[in-house]
């Protein structure tokens, strides 16, 4: 990824509403052809960010540089970028074909060429050509997604922005569309910049992910880096269920006050004083004896949940509730309130600062 030239460079990009910085000094390079996803909870500034990049919201300060050219003052209709909106914003008074052809019509492309392009896009997006004359109001949720994407592709943008277009779609269809979108990205080779509040969704599709919090990008990395080496507690918890133990360094040892004991760390970062020890639930193991893992704790089974291919166990140890996940085939049969020994090896844990 890093060998490819940057298509979009953000320098100290800031958007203020009064004294509040919705986007706060973001620096970022996005490579040509990359699928980059910005994830963050609602209110983290991700929507404001993408609206600035698309030209729908003026930046307060900083630079947006597209292929070496500062485009802060270029309005949205003159930028070679295009957005798929959360509401999709399909024109309700027009047919599927007319929606897809809209950017071509604006550009003055003759009707025959427009239609040819629209039909090609319908094929590319696995929609029947007969949909050309169909009212968009009569399309299903998934079909509307594809029409919106086809319309954006008809514009032939250098960068495609996506503002949580899948958030209103049911789980099963969403999973299908996520994969389709990744396929389309591969086929077109265009740069995709996607925003979502779901890190899981980001993981499926992205080359790189930027995690946003309170207007700042707190971590940028590949899905694997974000998953296995979260920079802080916020990022680690954003991925869903995770075990977090507050720890501090005392006398060269990693001490947990709540358990009144020390844990073996995965290696101490320079200057570490206090933070959290993070262990993913699938790295937690049930032990026969405390010697089977570098760190162990005893607790009782509080409850268990079947999560499709996996079983999740909630284990109470002291004031903490630990989460352990096992593949269904490898899941032990446990009774409620049964005493269990759980543990993990230091290499499977991550030490993050506050």
């Amino acid at each position: 990824m890093s060998q490819r030239p940057a298509i979009l460079v953000l320098k100290n990009l800031t958007k203020s509403f009064g004294k509040f910085n919705a986007v706060d000094g973001v620096d970022l390079d996005i490579a040509d052809g990359e699928f980059f996803t910005i994830v963050g909870p609602s209110g983290s500034g991700k929507t404001t960010m993408i609206r600035m990049l698309a030209g729908m919201e003026p930046a307060t300060s900083g630079d947006i540089i597209l292929r070496g050219e500062r485009i802060n003052d270029v309005p949205a209709n003159r930028r070679p970028t295009c957005m798929v909106f959360q509401s999709l914003a399909l024109f309700p008074h027009r047919t599927v074909g007319e929606n897809i052809e809209f950017p071509l019509k604006i550009r003055g492309v003759p009707p025959a060429a427009r239609k040819e392009k629209a039909l090609a896009l319908l094929r590319q997006l696995r929609l029947p050509e007969s949909y050309y004359g169909k009212s968009v109001l009569k399309c299903s949720g998934g079909e509307r997604q594809r029409v919106a994407l086809a319309r954006a592709l008809a514009f032939d943008p250098e960068i495609l922005f996506f503002d949580e277009p899948l958030s209103a779609i049911d789980y099963k269809l969403r999973k299908t569309l996520e994969k389709e979108l990744k396929d389309i990205h591969r086929e077109t080779g265009k740069t995709f910049i996607y925003i979502t509040h779901s890190l899981e969704e980001a993981m499926v599709m992205s080359d790189r992910i930027g995690v946003m919090r309170a207007g700042k990008l707190v971590q940028v990395g590949t899905p694997n880096e974000i998953y296995s080496a979260p920079r802080d507690k916020f990022v680690s918890e954003f991925m869903g269920d995770v075990n977090v133990i507050p720890v501090s360094l005392a006398g060269g040892k990693l001490i947990s006050a709540s358990f009144d004991r020390s844990f073996t760390p995965p290696g101490l970062p320079d200057g570490f004083a206090s933070g959290h020890l993070v262990i993913r639930p699938e790295y937690m193991r049930f032990l026969d004896s405390p010697d089977d893992a570098e760190n162990s704790l005893s607790g009782r089974l509080y409850n268990e949940y079947a999560l499709g291919s996996r079983i999740q166990y909630q284990i109470r140890a002291g004031d903490h509730v630990f989460i352990v996940e096992k593949l269904r085939q490898q899941a032990p049969a446990l009774d409620l309130d049964q005493s269990v020994l759980i543990g993990w090896d230091a290499k499977d844990s991550v030490l993050v600062r506050d």
Partner: protein
């Protein structure tokens, strides 16, 4: 409820519905019947039936002039009111701006003024600035009362308008003008059509504002009133009937237009 059978309740609902309909439409029917008399006077039951007064009314040059005046006012009001109210409705319901909530209240206030007071106030004002009263001043007077109504009617459509549609069109390369022509206007068209109908019909039937502001010109409602006060002929119910039928026809026309549009859309889907 216990004591009444299902069919009994059903019959009661029907009876009530019909009673309401009779109550609403009998007066209109009476006007029509009153126009069918051959006699000179207003008399029920009608002694001798005839269409004489219909012929006489349609032959009258005075009546032609009345229609011309009323239609001129209503058409001018419709066009001006819709243009102003369209942009007014965008400010009312589409954009968030600092004075919006005060604007929303101020713009609707004229609807609640007693129209005769509003008419008098406008008359005084026209006199003060030295405007000669004619059908043109009546247009202005009607606008004061009708623009708020049309703004409200179009606003209802604007409220259900997704602003992202405009952003999407702009983002896809359209100029502001193209966005308006290709997206905003067509999507809001049903609201604009019903706003136009409201504007025309409210002006067409308006009496109190016209009374004060038409000067030497006379509209149909003014004429009807004047004739009722002095010089009644069965030409009055004739004109009343025609005026009502005209309004009904316009409404049906509007309905037909919307139905045609819908059918056109459906047939396009079939292709």
């Amino acid at each position: 409820m216990e004591g009444m059978s299902r069919s009994g309740r059903h019959a009661l609902i029907w009876a009530w519905t019909i009673a309401v309909l009779v109550f609403l439409y009998i007066p209109g029917l009476c006007i029509f019947l009153a126009s069918l008399t051959a006699s000179r006077y207003f008399q029920f039951p009608i002694q001798r039936w005839g269409l004489d007064w219909w012929r006489k009314t349609f032959d009258s040059i005075e009546v032609h002039q009345l229609f011309k005046t009323s239609i001129s006012i209503a058409l001018a009001v419709m066009v001006i009111a819709v243009v102003i109210a369209f942009f007014g409705a965008l400010a009312f319901a589409r954009y968030n701006w600092k004075g919006r909530s005060i604007y929303q209240k101020l713009v609707l206030l004229p609807i609640f003024f007693p129209q005769s007071v509003l008419g008098l106030a406008l008359l005084l004002w026209f006199n003060a600035i030295g405007l000669e009263l004619s059908w043109k001043t009546a247009v202005f007077a009607h606008l004061v009362w009708i623009i708020p109504v049309v703004t409200l009617v179009i606003s209802i459509q604007v409220y259900s308008f997704d602003p992202a549609l405009e952003e999407a069109a702009f983002d896809l390369g359209a100029t502001r003008w193209q966005v308006l022509r290709e997206v905003t206007l067509p999507v809001l068209l049903p609201g604009i059509v019903s706003g136009s109908l409201f504007a025309f019909l409210l002006s067409w039937g308006n009496f109190p504002l016209s009374l004060f502001t038409t000067g030497a010109d006379t509209t149909i409602p003014e004429y009807l009133y004047a004739k009722m006060v002095a010089g009644y002929t069965p030409g009055v119910p004739v004109l009343g009937t025609v005026s009502t039928l005209g309004a009904a026809l316009l409404l049906l026309g509007g309905y037909w237009l919307i139905a045609m549009r819908r059918r056109q859309k459906n047939s396009r889907e079939g292709s």
